[in-house]
């Protein structure tokens, strides 16, 4: 089986901004991979490139073994954007059912399952505009999961979600991994990162370092991930200067 994701030397320039500078990474199937870095590090551009929403200037992206952009493979990929991206006038159920239908889901029970999964079964008939921020976030997650994708990209999924629900989310992510589903989660919250199987530190459009949370701490010789990130960021910068 091919890897869930292969990113090969991807470069992307926007007007005056060098968002991705030859970034490469590889993610095997069935794990949760955390993309960690400050705002503006290039995480969102990377996720958009993986989805084929942004076409790289050079390099290539293979999602589930298919070169992106590719419309057909999107049916097997789930995406939860940073903004909730829902139709405010419609109910939770209508939103989830709409995105399910576009991805070819025909079984209506799957819509209910996805809503139950994010604990919104009691609000299924509420309009999205009546929901709290956390509930919207959950509805957005249901839309990303409803078609049972093999690869799921979550852009800052737990922002604005209370701790109890966050635990629930991670439990579910774990179960998905066991079923062979790969998750790629972007975050700038370090304690969130502890839960990922593998982490990639992203800074200024490049991958600084990669490994499990404990590996990264060990290599940096620091007690926390935060300090480890700073360690790699400084060393990366000095390495650049020497080169």
């Amino acid at each position: 089986m091919t890897d869930a994701l292969t990113v090969n030397a991807v470069q992307k320039h926007f007007k005056g901004v060098h968002a991705l500078r030859g970034l490469s990474l590889q993610v095997e199937r069935g794990i949760t991979y955390g993309l960690l870095g400050p705002n503006g590090a290039g995480k969102t551009t990377l996720i958009r490139t993986i989805l084929g929403l942004t076409v790289p200037d050079s390099g290539e992206v293979l999602a589930l073994g298919v070169r992106m952009p590719d419309k057909a493979v999107l049916q097997r990929i789930g995406y939860m954007p940073q903004s909730t991206a829902l139709y405010d006038d419609l109910t939770v159920h209508q939103n989830v059912a709409f995105f399910a239908a576009l991805s070819g889901v025909t079984d209506p029970a799957r819509v209910d399952q996805a809503i139950t999964l994010v604990s919104l079964q009691n609000r299924a008939q509420s309009r999205v505009r009546e929901l709290s921020g956390g509930m919207r976030q959950r509805c957005s997650l249901a839309c990303a999961l409803v078609h049972e994708p093999e690869l799921i990209l979550l852009d800052e999924p737990t922002v604005g979600i209370d701790p109890q629900l966050r635990v629930q989310f991670w439990d579910h992510f774990r179960r998905l991994n066991q079923a062979g589903v790969t998750l790629i989660v972007s975050s700038h919250v370090m304690d969130e990162a502890e839960r990922c199987d593998k982490l990639g530190f992203v800074r200024e459009g490049t991958l600084l370092a990669e490994g499990s949370a404990s590996e990264l701490r060990q290599r940096a010789g620091t007690p926390t991930l935060e300090e480890a990130f700073l360690h790699f960021a400084e060393n990366g910068a000095s390495a650049e200067r020497i080169a």
Partner: protein
């Protein structure tokens, strides 16, 4: 292309609007308010007209020391003096029909060889007027002018008036329309098109703008749906509301305002549908250039009002400066107005309005492709 996905988008668009009863009420009520006010104002308006004269009157001797008189010529002369809004053109019986059909003249008055003699003998002025008729303002206005001219002419002939004021009758024939056609009959067809165009344009540009700003468009792009499927789905969803609105406007104008219609309502509907499809895509296209709903509102004077002014709805295209006329024909609304007027006033069938219908369909296709393109450009950024 998946008809399933198109259907899901259409159904979602419908569900969204259905969740907004205030917007629906506005769609349906505003046209009725505006039509009612406009109807009252329009029925009280005058305009400039061109009259063709077929001058065959050979005159007659009036006697009583007045001598030889040609009433046909006198009447023509006083018509041009009673109002500066009347232009007189001399025609031959052969050229008259064509001039009327081409709408070069609004009416043709024929003075037969024995016109003066008949007036003398009968003590009555009997005028033969053929109206082009599709603009009832012209017919009513001309009637007033002719009456005034006749009275003035006779005042100069004291001999005749000394005996008794002659009876003046006008025998009117209409190429299109009829004596009971009024200004509203002339303006209602473009009004019907105008509302559909305006509302569909505003609704689609705002909802598509929201689709961009809330990120749902980006989310849609991460599903297998193609840009074309999305645009067509939008088109289907909004045409349902556009048709419901057309139905109400048409019903109101025909049954309440009692506007006349000569042609098939089915053809009227077809034109409305095409106009709505065109407007959906124009709305999607223009939403690309707006960053907020305020900006969408500011597109209305540019895209909607300018187009209405140039569309021949109120000011005839033939009366525009020559350089402006091709511009008018580049406006999709112009074709819709022409088709609606031809069907409702002249009773034309689908074949006769086919050039306009095809042009409208062409615009719709053009804007489908343009709006699908602008969505891709958005994705590229």
């Amino acid at each position: 292309m998946s008809s399933q996905r198109i259907f899901h988008v259409a159904r979602r668009v419908i569900a969204q609007l259905a969740a907004d009863p205030r917007t629906i009420a506005l769609i349906l009520i505003v046209p009725i308010v505006v039509l009612t006010v406009a109807g009252i104002l329009i029925r009280a308006e005058t305009t400039a007209i061109t009259v063709g004269i077929i001058q065959q009157d050979s005159g007659a001797d009036a006697g009583f020391g007045i001598g030889f008189v040609n009433l046909g010529e006198r009447l023509t002369a006083s018509m041009s003096t009673v109002s500066d809004q009347v232009t007189i053109v001399t025609l031959t019986p052969e050229s008259a029909d064509e001039a009327l059909q081409r709408a070069d003249v609004d009416a043709v008055i024929t003075f037969p060889p024995e016109f003066t003699q008949t007036v003398m003998d009968d003590h009555a002025i009997h005028l033969n007027v053929a109206y082009e008729g599709s603009n009832p303002m012209a017919a009513q206005f001309l009637q007033g002018i002719v009456m005034r001219a006749a009275v003035e002419t006779l005042a100069g002939l004291s001999v005749i008036t000394a005996q008794a004021i002659p009876e003046i009758t006008i025998d009117a024939a209409y190429l299109y329309g009829g004596a009971d056609f009024d200004n509203l009959d002339y303006l209602a067809p473009p009004f019907i098109g105008l509302f559909v165009f305006l509302f569909v344009f505003i609704l689609t540009s705002v909802s598509f703008l929201r689709e961009r700003t809330t990120g749902t468009l980006e989310r849609l792009q991460t599903t297998p749906i193609s840009r074309l499927e999305l645009v067509i789905g939008y088109m289907l969803g909004f045409s349902l509301f556009a048709l419901a609105q057309s139905l109400i406007i048409l019903g109101y104008t025909i049954f309440v305002l009692e506007v006349h219609y000569a042609g098939s309502l089915l053809v009227v509907f077809l034109v409305e549908l095409l106009l709505a499809l065109m407007a959906v895509n124009l709305g999607i296209f223009f939403s690309t250039f707006a960053r907020s709903e305020f900006q969408v509102v500011q597109f209305i004077p540019l895209v909607v009002v300018t187009q209405i002014l140039l569309s021949g709805a109120f000011w005839a295209i033939s009366a525009m400066p020559a350089w402006l006329q091709p511009v008018a024909w580049l406006m999709p609304l112009t074709h819709a107005n022409q088709a609606l007027r031809d069907v409702m006033i002249k009773g034309f069938d689908l074949v006769q309005v086919a050039p306009y219908v095809l042009a409208l369909g062409g615009f719709a296709v053009l804007f489908v492709l343009l709006s699908a393109r602008t969505i891709r450009h958005q994705a590229g950024g």
